[in-house]
């Protein structure tokens, strides 16, 4: 999973945050966040629980509007009033709990909300044959091996589900793909599979925002890293500027972790 050489930035980035902030009542959930997402790159957002990762997703996905600062799409400021608007602008979000219906088949899930139709008037119907065909093709293109697109999504493993969700977002022309903790509930092997699909999406020219609290997952696949702590940015780093160890240290609050390690050491050990 070697990242391709980062192309020199040309023109405005796909998505840019400038001093974005968001309050819930009197609680400042997010403040002064700067970040950049470029096509064909992975921007990782790292942070511990409560760092503001979820709030950041909600701002990007159009669930909440930012209270301060600006979100720029192709260099022009935008505000999304609903997830639908963000989606129409090419920003797709794959949530942690997934927008998939367990009892429905893979192909029905794949096209949910954007079903292809044939015929017209009262005979306009869901083109099931095409939906199955496209599902099989798109999953194969992402290197996802599904035996039977008719099987219910509930019978897939967590990693397979994430992969189908990513393939779906890419198929529907996502230019920016936001992944909310895609590896958090997975075992080591499954997480590796999902990260491979993240790289696939990146190689197809999608700008990926990968939200995670695991620097070991973020570092190999990421091109730039935004570290959050209690709603504030600890900085945005290019991959060349930061090692995995530094990233881990920064994320965990540096000195705090060292103190903890010291405290947990066996006496005299």
């Amino acid at each position: 999973m070697t990242p391709p050489p980062v192309a020199p930035p040309v023109g405005p980035p796909l998505l840019e945050l400038r001093g974005v902030g968001k309050d819930y009542g009197s609680v400042i959930a997010l403040d002064g966040i700067d970040a950049t997402v470029r096509a064909g790159e992975v921007t990782c957002v790292l942070g511990d629980n409560g760092a503001g990762k979820s709030t950041l997703i909600k701002v990007l996905a159009g669930v909440h509007a930012a209270d301060r600062g600006a979100v720029l799409l192709d260099g022009a400021p935008v505000t999304f009033g609903s997830p639908r608007e963000a989606l129409d602008a090419g920003i797709a979000t794959v949530y942690q709990d997934l927008a998939m219906i367990p009892l429905m088949s893979i192909w029905r899930n794949f096209f949910l909300g954007a079903e292809p139709t044939r015929g017209w008037g009262p005979l306009r119907r869901f083109d099931a044959a095409r939906a199955k065909e496209v599902t099989r093709r798109e999953l194969a293109a992402m290197g996802i091996d599904i035996r039977d697109p008719d099987q219910p999504v509930g019978t897939l493993s967590g990693g397979e589900r994430q992969s189908v969700a990513i393939a779906r977002a890419v198929h529907f022309g996502a230019r920016v793909l936001i992944l909310d903790e895609p590896t958090s509930a997975l075992g080591v092997k499954q997480a590796g599979v999902v990260l491979r699909y993240v790289a696939q999406a990146r190689d197809r020219g999608v700008g990926v925002v990968l939200i995670t609290h695991n620097p070991h997952h973020a570092h190999p696949v990421g091109d730039r890293f935004l570290v959050l702590n209690r709603g504030r940015s600890l900085g945005e780093f290019a991959k060349t500027d930061i090692s995995r160890e530094e990233l881990t240290r920064l994320m965990a609050g540096g000195a705090e972790l060292e103190a903890l390690a010291h405290e947990l050491e066996r006496p005299g050990g």
Binding site: P83, R84, L87, T93, Y95, D97, L98, A99, M100, I101, P102, L103, M104, R108, F111, L112, G113, A114, E115, T117, R124, R125, F126, A128, R147, D148, D150, Q151, P152, G154, T155
Partner: protein, 333 residues
């Protein structure tokens, strides 16, 4: 387990199909009347009016909701047809049109309240059920001074209405009520909508996981309201059929039926939690109901056994469906 077999087992209507075959065989072997064309036409009749409702209720259940007002709504629409046609002296088609508008309004109100308040549809429609029950009695007494609306057949336009809603047709040497044909038609239509249209996909999604459905852009609210209006429209059709067929309507018509519709839908494979089920299954559930209702007197058993039998069928169906679903889903873990 091989693919084709598993795919057959996850079909929600499989249990109801097996049940219908078993029930048919049970009665047909013991009663000659039961298996005669006339007998079949006889037990298809209660199955048909129940089936039209059960199919609509199944769609609603797949969409994740209940409608306890569905039964009493057949009474409300039947009484509306009667009162507008006789007490207000209108053409029967005007009365039927008025009843449709009223039914759709009630269905919309149910759906709107459920989606707005996010309260369980069980409670909301229990409220409408009781309100309609009171209105049916109150208004009927107000208009007629009794608890019955009668002489509907004297309204202008009755002959045409009778042809559409209450005639008999010859099918394979037996005289069958036209409601049976409507039932088959509505079942086919509902099945097609559910499995082969975008709306059908949204119904499954809304019932399966409303939040997830919304996240990918499914208009869950509109879908829910449309489903409540569909159930109401079915109640209108059945209510009109009753009014035209019987020519007089009791003010307590339809009360208690709402649970029978749900029973038929559940026997047909609908999950109480939504997101799974089938229209054909619900129609088969209604068929089982019809066969049992008439099969028991054909065997000269006491009719009191009917409800015991229905309850046992329901329990069996729920257990069988759960087993099949677990088996099918566990196959790949």
């Amino acid at each position: 387990m091989p693919g084709p077999l598993r795919r057959l087992l996850v079909k929600p209507e499989l249990g109801a199909l097996v049940g219908a075959v078993v029930v048919f065989t049970f009665f047909a072997v013991q009663s000659e009347v039961f298996r005669s064309p006339r007998g079949i036409a006889n037990w298809l009749d209660p199955a048909s009016t129940l089936g039209i409702m059960a199919v609509a209720v199944a769609l609603l259940m797949i969409g994740g909701h209940f409608d306890l007002s569905a039964g009493v709504m057949t009474g409300t629409t039947a009484l509306t047809v009667g009162i507008v046609a006789t007490e207000l002296g209108q053409n029967i088609w005007v009365a039927i049109g008025a009843a449709l508008v009223l039914a759709l309004a009630i269905g919309f109100a149910n759906g709107w309240l459920v989606t707005r308040t996010r309260l369980p549809s069980f409670i909301i429609t229990l409220g409408t059920f009781l309100m309609l029950q009171g209105l049916n009695l109150g208004l009927t007494k107000l208009f007629t001074g009794t608890v019955t609306v009668g002489e509907i057949d004297e309204a202008p336009g009755y002959a045409a209405a009778e042809w559409v809603f209450a005639s008999r047709v010859q099918v394979l040497g037996a005289e069958v009520r036209v409601a049976v044909l409507w039932w088959v038609l509505f079942t086919a239509l509902a099945s097609w909508v559910l499995l082969r249209t975008r709306f059908g996909n949204w119904v499954f999604a809304t019932g399966g996981d409303e939040v997830a459905a919304r996240n990918v852009g499914v208009p869950a609210r509109r879908t829910t309201i449309a489903l409540f209006m569909t159930t109401a429209a079915a109640a209108w059709f059945v209510g009109t059929t009753l009014a035209v067929r019987l020519t007089s309507v009791q003010a307590n018509t339809g009360i208690g039926q709402e649970l029978i519709y749900i029973v038929a839908a559940v026997i047909g494979g609908c999950l109480l939690t939504g997101g799974f089920g089938s229209a054909v299954g619900a129609a088969l559930g209604a068929l089982i109901f019809g066969m049992t209702l008439l099969g028991i007197p054909y065997l000269r058993w006491d009719a009191d056994w009917f409800y015991f039998f229905l309850g046992a069928m329901l329990l069996l169906a729920v257990l069988a469906n759960r087993l099949v679903r677990r088996y099918a889903e566990a196959a790949r873990r």
